[in-house]
Symmetry: C2
Subunit: 490 residues, 2 copies
Amino acid sequence: MSKGLPKRSENYSEWYNEIVKRADLAENSAVRGCMVIKPYGYAIWEKMQRALDDMFKASGHVNAYFPLFVPKSFLEKEEEHAEGFAKECAVITHYRLKANPDGKGLVVDPNAKLEEELIVRPTSETVIWNTYKGWIQSWRDLPILINQWANVVRWEMRTRIFLRTAEFLWQEGHTAHATKQEAIEETNKILEIYAEFAEKWMSMPVIQGVKTASERFAGAEDTLCIEALMQDGKALQSGTSHFLGQNFAKSFDVKFTNKEGQLEYAWATSWGVSTRLMGALIMAHSDDNGLVLPPKLAPIQVVIVPIYKGEEDLAKITEAVNPVFEALKAKGISVKYDDDDKQRSGWKFAEYELKGVPVRLGLGMRDLENGTVEVARRDTLTKESKPLAGIADYVESLLDEIQENIYDKALKFREENTFTVDTWDDFKAQVEKGGFILAHWDGTAETEEAIKNETKATIRCIPFNSAEEAGKCVYSGKDSAKRVVFAKAY
Amino acid sequence: MSKGLPKRSENYSEWYNEIVKRADLAENSAVRGCMVIKPYGYAIWEKMQRALDDMFKASGHVNAYFPLFVPKSFLEKEEEHAEGFAKECAVITHYRLKANPDGKGLVVDPNAKLEEELIVRPTSETVIWNTYKGWIQSWRDLPILINQWANVVRWEMRTRIFLRTAEFLWQEGHTAHATKQEAIEETNKILEIYAEFAEKWMSMPVIQGVKTASERFAGAEDTLCIEALMQDGKALQSGTSHFLGQNFAKSFDVKFTNKEGQLEYAWATSWGVSTRLMGALIMAHSDDNGLVLPPKLAPIQVVIVPIYKGEEDLAKITEAVNPVFEALKAKGISVKYDDDDKQRSGWKFAEYELKGVPVRLGLGMRDLENGTVEVARRDTLTKESKPLAGIADYVESLLDEIQENIYDKALKFREENTFTVDTWDDFKAQVEKGGFILAHWDGTAETEEAIKNETKATIRCIPFNSAEEAGKCVYSGKDSAKRVVFAKAY
């Protein structure tokens, strides 16, 4: 076991930071709030990207690329949007440096001031809808179903690696439709893709629902979201899909001739998930020994470690490992044979545990004699001896089992940490303890705000899959038709 | 044929711009010098990315991600590097906007001035070597073989879509090594990967060589490059691989303990190709009918167009097309069946020609009767009737043939437009006519500069694969040991 990894139960926050660091996922850079995503972390992100990209393409979306910079005047055009993002903008004012006339180094060249400031995109609705204006004339030009993989910048005051960084990587979908209905369907379809990705790939159960007005994306008519529960009992918003109505079409004057020959504003959606999912993945599954990765997102799915003394033994083990290695590769399984002589096998075991490699195969001389191999599972930390013959088939099904088990474990955790609460005292007490709280809410922004101020709990969403159930607001005692999900959140 | 596409022979520059526009590759955005890469163009870039990424990974490289922003003080650390990039930097000075107190809209909040200005990365050597300082202590930490896919910004005064834009997409490799020899080998290995990609994927022959001192990357000891010849006789630098010596290690104090236990500065390389390759691809192969794409980079490799009157005919054709479509797909060929009823087949033919789809299959009622299909090649603009039976196999080998033919054609063009010149008068006359010029040069920066000033031709590279041949400098008449490659360039 890795020395001194803090325990989740003792210091969750330090435990998270140390896993990010020791599993070589990422680190803070010299630039305030910006992170360096290290190769091992980036390999996980690449797997996420590939899976999501395949799903977007399978559902008819295409990729494109739009400028990094947003003219200030664009940001101003949609009022709520401007208000939402103005406070956290990186602003470019000049386009040249020059040698410092008073001494060493470089200074901003005052003669190279931009006529209009540019903002580093915090999101691309404005730039994209300004572009769509040129692309949309007729209903025949619709729908436009575009996604972009990009970096964005939001100048956050308190940053946290992966979870809240000034620069982050994400995908942002921006679609344009001829009808309101079609745009709403798109918003829903994307949320389902996000939920499927979270559950099937990340092994992370999520609640699907709609945000309250106060938690909506700046400029949206409706924001749908997936919400996951972390092991410390806090919620993490893991993806959002926005129905933008005609807001951006109106701000950028994007009209089309509909089938009836009339001019109409186009209907819009936008949606995104980001490197924040890396934080969710870490916090949802990992344990006091380090990272736990669902096999579908693990850069190394299987590691084979020889246990030997001397080169002769190693050669024999390697000979036995070779066909297993090839058989696993032939199945499309990402496998590493670690015969590095510089580290002992015990050190390797701890290292791969720390890095969350789902399956470890250990092979020593006694295994060779017996025709066996030691199979260690990262998710359960259990070991068993298995016949070497047919081990590739066994490992293949074991990876599926692990993928499911990690999901089941997270689901069980969520179920055990979801509480139905009916009184204000119980509510306050439960917020302190953590978890998802299902409680009645009177539907007003005032109550939502008061609850937030008094407990720091927010309404994560109004869930889709919950029964209508008349009740009284946990705070105001007024009528409520349905429970909503409260939690403290990242 | 597309109406009014300008002819290469009449207005090459307009021809280029119109192809970019009409083939839906990209367009200029509202942000000065920044482009929008449209879905069809981006799909080509994605194919380039995938092929290069596979080659990088196969040669032991891994991806990572580093911050978008470079603190001004970092840029200052390597003197030549600073000088090279200071003049074209997008500079962030503030991190917040606020409501305009004097009226409408947003203004920069003067209270949100950064203590130190940030530059939007024009390239990432400084940020990365500042990070490597924390990663490199011992020879055991080396080599580091990292690549990054990213956007970069260089504030160019004269921009040209794909070829020279303020923001562009690229990959930048940054490696660190324990020995000079290993770093030099890495520099060479990457150049070979670039050349292989250009020739095998882009069907574009390139000359490999080394830049003269004046054309070197700012901060490099040596810059290797691949140079391609465009159809207007101008050269296009298509990729560069830099041996950086210990310059950045010294600027950022990156030392390691070598095997002998001594402290030493690490050795570095960096290398990149960018969306500029899109411009090269267009200009190398396209013709007066539009884009010509090598099959390996074509988003749609084969289009099938039914030629019919009425739904009944279409149903019959579709029935015959289905197995062909499935057979092509099963071979991993990207195929589209265009049964869109809103456009006539003639319009479709022109459209797919414009977009460079390598193979078009046309199927009418007479073909059905005869068991034939019309096969049209984009590269030669020829058509032939072929038996429908076994057509998938035929198309598969035809795609390979087209890939090669496009290369052969470009190679022939280059050979016909490469000139060995020995006198100054011939040199000046040939520069006017275009092409690669092989001429003797005395090796001095003064002569290089004078030739550039008088003719606008630059030394594209000192080629690797040319024989030593004593001669006299075409400009100064002084001794020269080898011919170098001159051309006007993009």
